[in-house]
Each structure stands twice: as C-alpha cells, then as structure tokens.
C-alpha cells in the first residue's frame, strides 16, 4: 500500500539521497537477505499447513525446546495471515459502507453488534465449519485459527477506515470530483492514504489482542474432540500436560520474544512510515521513529523497486478506470432510486426475517424450547459481577499508579512500551500457572476467575490512565500547585476530570476483554484437574466442548446482549459525559 515516490528527474533539494552509498551497498544486501529469509520461512512453514492429519492423533506436539522456533514461526504465520485477511476485509467493508447509502444502513449496525460478540464464540463455530470443509487436513484447523484471530482484528480496522472515509475533508472530495479522478484514483490517492494512520494504529492494537486468540485457538476441544495446531500455544499446552515446568518457561520466553520482536521489527517501522500520511500540513514536533525503518531507508533498493514498479502502477491506474469516474451526476431519477430503496429494504428484511424464523424454529424444536435462554441469562449475572469487580478493583489500583507514571516523563518513557507489551502478551498463556497456584492455595475459581480475567484486561486501564495523565497540561498542574490545591481536592478538581476521557476508553476495552476472557477463564485445567466457576463463560465453554449447539447459540446470544446493553446503557453515557464536559 501507499504511494511510492515517482522517480524525480532532478535530485530533490530537501531529501537528498546519500551519495556515500553506491548503487548497491551492504545495507541493501542485508535487507535483501532478510526478505529472502522471510520468504523462505513462509514457504517452508506454509508447506506444512496442508499436511494431513489423522483426527485420532490428539497431540503431535514435540516438547523439545529446540522445536520452539519452528512452532513460533507457525504461530506467527497464522497471525500475519489473519492480519492480511483483516486488512482486505476492512477495506472492502468500510468502502462499501461509506459509498453506498443502502449498504451503510446494514453494514454499520452489523459491525457494531459483531464487535460485541465474544470472539471465542466464533472460534467454536469456525472450527466445526472449517474442519468439515477440509476433512482430514490441517488446513481446516489453520483456517479456523486464522478466522478466530481475524474476528479479533477486523471490526476495529473496518471502523477506523470507515470513519476516515466519511470524514474525508470536503476540499479533497471536491478536488477529486473537480479534477475528474477515477474512483480507483480517489481510493488509491486520497482515501487510502488519509485512512492509513488510523488503519495502521488500529491494526497494531488489534494485533496485540490477537495473540490471546491465537493461543486459545491452537489448543481447543470442540464436540468432545481435542484439536491441536502446531504453535507456541499448543507447545505450552503440551508442556503443561507433560508436567515440564521448565518447558513452559521456554514457551513463555518465546512468546515474549515474539511479541516484542514483532513490535520492533514490524509495527514500529510501519507506524513510523505511516507518519507520511499525516494530513496536518506542518511538520510535527514529535514524530514516531524506528531504528529499523531508518536502516531500511538507508538502502537504495526500495527506491529502485519503486522505479521498477512504476509501469505496474501506471497499468493499475489505467485498469482502475474501469471502475468509473468519481462524479455525482446532477440528475437523479428519484423514482428509480426509491424503487431501489424499497427493493433493498424488502430483501434485507426478508433475509433477516427468514433467518429469525428458522432460528426460533430450531431452538423451539429442542427439548428445552425457548426457556433455554433462562439459564445463560442468570449465569450472565455472575459473570457480570466478576467484570464489575475487575474493572472497579483495577481502577482503584491502576489509575493512581498510571497517573503517577504519566506525570513523570521519565517514568512514562520506560513504562509505556512495557505496558503495551504486557497488554499484548496473551494472558491465557499464564492461566495454567495461575491454576496451579489456585490448586495449591485452594482458592475457588469463582474468585480466582476474576484474577484470570484481570491478567489480560487490567493493562488497558493502566495504559489509558498513563495516557490521560500525560494529556493534562503542565500549566494546569502548575496552576494547582500555585493555588495550593493538593491531596483529595486535587484529585477531585484536576486529576479525575483530566484522566476521565482516556480512562473511559480504557475501561470499555478492559470490560470487553474481560467478557471475552471469561470463556477461557471460568473453566481451567491443570494436569488432570479441571476447575469450573459459575458463570456464562463456563456455560459457553461447556456447550462448546460438548458440541451442544442450541446451548452454545443461546449462551453467545446472551453474552452479546449483555455486552451491547452495558455498552449502550453505561459506557456510552460515560463516553458522552467525557466528550462534553471533560475533554481538554
């Protein structure tokens, strides 16, 4: 993506190419070799993806630590495959929603709901579906895993791009139509670059969350059958079953290296590169920097590559003209448009209605009938209580700490990347260790589950508290010092209002993450012992394991409903309050 610079026939005065480097320097060699290796690894790992497996073979995981790099590679491949799919999905979905009045009315609310559906619920559905699609091949499982990660990334990215599409500056829209851009040109030269920063940052955040689902999807039991995919997650699982605590340690180390490495080698350079798509017209004082990007930029070959690809771009631009010209004709046939609207509405409603009827019919045909919803509704209250306690306790602990860190630039510099990585680190990786602890101390999972859910979710609150504290202007703090406002009054008048908007964002993410985590946190296994908590998450997990589709459906529907309702009734109000009264 992006718009490579065209070969200027005169050397730019502002961005001179380093004359010190010849046509092909050692930097080029290193970067090229790196790419070659990457290609090899992808091919090598990709070959095994289609390997056939016998369903009876429960776990083909070799717990020899030497095999870990291979497993890490497989896991990484899944993550990036999901990222690619998410990107394509986000672009298509957002474009359709932003450019079609009719589709917008369906796609955007749908996205809003999809966002609230617990991702892990998708996983079980996906595993059954994809395995059936590719019987006897690992490909089905791979696709199911990729799909699970995809569902944790795609909605965010689609929303980000949609938002940027509908807020395209008016003058850029006028430029595009006035100059007679083709639709392709509008997309490629205006819309995609304007949305690039939002896309990249959202992708990075979602990618961090995706590790959790990677781990969850590599080792899963559906319909009384264990499915295992070679990867870090399944390695750790196998090590735990085998009781090798040392091997578990290696797996955790590998995971940490993966998270940090991808951040350093991929996301940092990408976010730094995306700076060029900032719409503000002046040079920013503080820009994202990346050592890796600086290194790559020293190489000549990206420029040479850009020149080599120029004809391709030309062709693509020309081919893109088949999509038509970006114009809004004066005359709209009102009757035809209305007829189209009516047809669209009727078809949409008919499809949804048909789906609802068959769904109700399916559930009513079950022995429990529609009363199947009662149990998950009640269990949802238990999980809700856990989420509330988690958010409340995490707030009390992490907001003061976050504020302390955010007020000190030195601490912030150290803490921010660390917290970012902690938030990315898949908490479910640590669940077995925590379970072992619970078994030793005899702590009930009804309480312990909160801790497990908090392992992943709490970091969002800390992270946003830091960001919020940083956003409080120094002169406001100085004014408070000057006026002698200290202690509780300072918290009430300055810190809480100042941190509030950012905190709300963090708390929404944390509570969403906690709901999701409940599916894996309310039932945990260590060795031969399984601990179960009372809650909706455990209900869904059991229904999944037993392959009980009606109950699974009811559980997922109820959990989505809880999440949507709490978002609408509680978080959205706080958000509005934050926007109106406490925005700095």
């Amino acid at each position: 993506m992006g718009v490579p610079r065209s070969p200027a026939n005169r050397v730019a005065p502002s961005r001179p190419l380093s004359p010190r480097l010849g046509w092909f320097s050692w930097v080029d060699a290193v970067v090229a070799a790196g790419l070659l290796v990457l290609l090899y690894v992808v091919i090598r790992l990709g070959k095994d993806v289609t390997l056939s497996f016998a369903p009876t073979q429960v776990s083909g995981i070799d717990t020899d630590p030497a095999r870990l790099p291979y497993y890490a590679g497989r896991s990484l491949l899944r993550m990036f495959a999901a990222l690619g799919v998410s990107l394509v999905f986000a672009l298509v979905w957002a474009y359709a929603a932003a450019h079609s009045r009719r589709l917008e009315r369906v796609l955007i609310p749908a996205l809003d709901i999809l966002q609230s559906v617990p991702v892990l619920a998708f996983l079980t559905v996906a595993v059954t579906g994809f395995v059936a699609l590719f019987p006897g091949s690992l490909l089905g499982l791979e696709l199911a895993s990729v799909f699970a990660i995809f569902t944790s990334q795609a909605w965010n990215m689609a929303f980000a791009f949609y938002h940027s599409l509908i807020t395209t500056p008016r003058e850029l829209d006028e430029l595009s139509r006035g100059m007679g851009f083709s639709r392709w040109m509008r997309f490629w030269k205006v819309e995609l670059p304007s949305g690039a920063i939002g896309l990249v940052w959202n992708a990075m955040m979602s990618f961090g969350g995706g590790w959790f689902f990677l781990v969850a999807s590599e080792l899963i039991s559906v319909s009384n059958r264990e499915y295992t995919l070679p990867g870090v997650g399944s390695y750790a699982g196998a090590a735990i079953v085998a009781g090798h605590l040392g091997h578990v340690g290696w797996a955790i180390l590998t995971m940490a290296i993966l998270v940090i490495g991808v951040n350093f080698l991929f996301w940092r350079p990408l976010t730094a590169w995306a700076e060029r798509f900032k719409v503000e017209q002046s040079e920013a004082a503080q820009v994202q920097r990346s050592l890796v990007l600086d290194f790559v930029r020293r190489a000549n070959w990206p420029r040479l590559l850009g020149r080599a690809l120029a004809p391709l771009r030309e062709t693509a631009g020309r081919a893109g003209r088949v999509f038509g010209v970006d114009d809004r004709p004066f005359l709209v046939d009102v009757r035809r448009r209305r007829a189209g609207d009516v047809l669209f509405t009727v078809v949409t409603l008919a499809l949804i209605g048909w789906g609802l009827v068959s769904l109700v019919g399916y559930l009513a045909g079950q022995p429990a009938g529609l009363s199947i919803f009662v149990e998950p509704l009640l269990l949802g209250l238990a999980t809700l209580a856990r989420v509330v306690v988690l958010v409340a306790v995490a707030t009390l602990i992490w907001v003061p700490i976050g504020v302390k860190i955010g007020f000190s630039p030195r601490l912030t510099r150290i803490a921010q990347p660390v917290v970012q990585i902690l938030a990315s680190f898949p908490a479910n990786f640590l669940f077995p260790l925590a379970t072992w602890l619970f078994l030793r101390t005899g702590l009930s999972l009804n309480i312990g589950g909160i801790l497990l859910m908090a392992l992943g979710a709490q970091w969002y609150i800390l992270f946003n508290a830091i960001a919020g504290a940083m956003a409080i202007p120094t002169d406001l703090r100085e004014a408070m010092d000057d006026l002698g406002v200290h202690g509780r009054r300072r918290w009430k008048r300055l810190i809480i209002p100042g941190v509030f908007p950012s905190y709300v964002t963090g708390a929404i993410t944390a509570s969403g993450g906690a709901w999701n985590a409940s599916i894996v946190a309310e039932v945990v296994t260590f060795g031969g012992t399984t601990l179960t908590a009372t809650g909706l998450g455990a209900y869904i997990a059991h229904a999944t394991a037993a392959g009980d589709h009606p109950r699974l459906l009811a559980g997922v529907a109820v959990m989505s409903m809880y999440v949507v309702l709490i978002n609408r009734l509680f978080w959205r109000r706080l958000y509005r309050l934050a926007e109106h009264r406490y925005s700095l």
Partner: protein
Amino acid sequence: MTLLTVTGLTKSYAGADGDLPVLAGIDLDINEGEIVALLGKSGSGKSTLLRCLAGLIPPNSGTITYRGRPLTGANPGTAMVFQTFALLPWLTVQQNVEIGLEARGLPARERREAALKAIDLIGLDGFESAYPKELSGGMRQRVGFARALVVEPDVLLMDEPFSALDVLTAENLRGELLELWESGEFPTKAIVVVTHNIEEAVLLADRVVVLAARPYGTIRATYDIPLPRPRDRDSTDFTKLIDVIYQTMTGRDHGTPLPPPGVRAPAKRTPANTPLPAAGVDGLSGLAEILQRHGGRLDFAELTDELSLEVDDLLPLIDALELLGFAAVEGTEVRLTSQGCAFSEADVQTSKEIFAPAAIEIPLVRFIATSLANSVGGRLRAGFFRDVLAHHYTSEQVAEQLNVATDWGRYAELYSYDTLHEEYRLDPPPG
C-alpha cells in the same frame, strides 16, 4: 465569447419547513478574457455559486451551461484553486501538479513535461520533489495554482485563494498572478475569484459581482472596473469604487436612512427576520472601545486599517452594535450612540447592566427569555429552540444563532445554558 452561463439558478438546502434558499435568481455570464470577482459577506452564497459553476453542487433549478452545453456533473472546462490549498500531503509537489493529468489518463512522460512547464511558469522550480508540509503557505498555494493551470481549463475558479496567507505573501502572489494574466501566457481564458475582500476584488477583477446575504444570496449589483492594470490603490478612482462597493455591501446604498435607535417597531422584528450576527460580546465591546477612543466615530476604511481586520470579520461586529442600539451606520461611517458610549466606558458590572436591557430587545434573546419564564421550572431543552428556528434557518445557521444568543444571554445574565444536558435555564431560577 461566453464560456459559462448561469440562468435563473436557485440553490437551497433542506430545512424543517422544506427547502431554505441560499441562492436565488442568479443570472451570470463568464466571458472569455475577463476576471470576475464574486464579492459578498459570509452567508451570501458566493462559495456555493462557485461550486455550482464547477459542477460540484447541483442547482435546484435553473441551468449552468459550459460553451452552450448544460452541465450534468463536474464541469470539464474548469479547475479550482482552494482556500485551504487541498494538496495531498503524501505526494510531492510534482505528483500533486500531475494529478489532474493523471486523472485524464495521460502517459507518464507527457505528464511530467506538462507538470514541469507549469511548475516553471508558477515559480516553483527546485521544489518538484518537496512535500507540501515542507513548504510555506505561499509556496503551497503556488502548487495549487500550478495543479489547476496544468490541465489548461477554460475557466480558473478560485475560492478565496489568498485569504489563508499572510498579507505580504498574498500581495506578492496576487501581483504575480496578474502579471502572468497580462503577459498572455496564462493557460486559461477566464478567471472567477470568490472573495470577501473589497480591495482584492477591485484590484483583480474586470467585473465585480456583489452578492447580498439576506434573506438569501442574490446578485445585488455588478460593477465594471475599467481601470488599467497595474492598479494604483491610492488613485481617487480606486478609492471611490471601493467606497461605492462598501456601501452596496453593507446595504446602505439606497439612501434610506435607518430608523434612529430607540424608535423601533418590535412587533415586526422576529427571530426569523432578525438573525443575530456572528459576534461575541468580547468582540463587540472591544470594537465599541476602539470607536470610543477615536471620538465615537470612524470610517469603515479607517476601521479596517486600524484593526487590520477583513470586512468579513468586522461587519458582524458592526451589525451587532447596530442591532443592540449601541452604534449607527451613516454612509461609510460608524458612530457610537449615547448608549454605546456608556457601554464602552462602563466597568464590567455596569456594562452588563447596560447590555441586558439592550439584549432583551433582540428578538431571539427575548424569545428564549420569555419562553423560559413561561415554562415549568424555568428550563427548556435547546432542541425546542432548534426546532423553532429550523423553520427559518439551515442547521448550521441554527447552531450559529443559538451560539450567539447563548453568549449574549449569559453575559446579560438573562439565562444560562447547560452544555451537557443541552438545556437553557432562567437565571436566577424562579423561586
């Protein structure tokens, strides 16, 4: 030869009571070889008219023809220069300039040649591979010019092209543009420029079209400017023209003296026919103080000089003072009334006491205050007033009207406004 013809153009936007016109009954020709300035206050629809000419906004009725053919979409014979430049920050200067040619499907080599020629013409040599953010405002607007000129449109449309630049840069760029136009090398056959700056209009144009703002945009007058270029700002012809146009723009050219302040017919003034000018209390009391310092009277031209403010920024303030009965306008002169003098001299508390009775006479302020007094508990949702105003104003105008009414009412301590609940409250609450 006539390039663009506008006949009976009406443009309106949807309001609660049906369509609210922003432009009505516009007839205009743009001929080969002329520069036409569209001049008007904000809200006169001048930018909308320009976008209609470009085929970016469809008219509700009436036609626009380009070389005799009615427009059905974007006008193929025009190119636009934007107030905010509208450059793509991720493309170099050259790529930005080439973009119109790329849209036409020209091969890379031809594009480059044409772009370099335009870059050369507009004085951007050496900046080809710079990015817009590395350039100053003036250089950025040059890129905007080069981008529009490279496609060699018949008519160059410019939407306040110099108003985002500092005075010196604007002056320089204007001068170069005129030189280029006079030299005969200019690649377009006509220019239409939108401006709110009278001097700029008279400096540039062969014809100045003055648009009136109320109740909707119409052509109030057209002036031919026969002065030879380069034009001398200090010549009597030039200043005379400016004075005449000033009076036309402020709507006092018909010789009808305004009713003296205090003699009002309140029954006739409603929130609908007496829109509040976009002026905050701070701004208008500042202006009153300046007038006071100059003996209570000043000429428009002196005022703009004194404050180095554009007419567009100044007129709402003057309108506000006049509406409140603090100032009167005679010809091109603004004079403080006795109330105005008192207001400008008073300390904060006294000025509030003078302001409040004046503000309550303003239809919208009075309407809000009396509605609140008659409501249960002295509070009303902003939505109520929005709905009432929506019958007469577009949604943007409604927001503007309520903003000003809120500011004035708060200062006068007539009522308060709670942003979070979007609610007006009587101040102090009854009981």
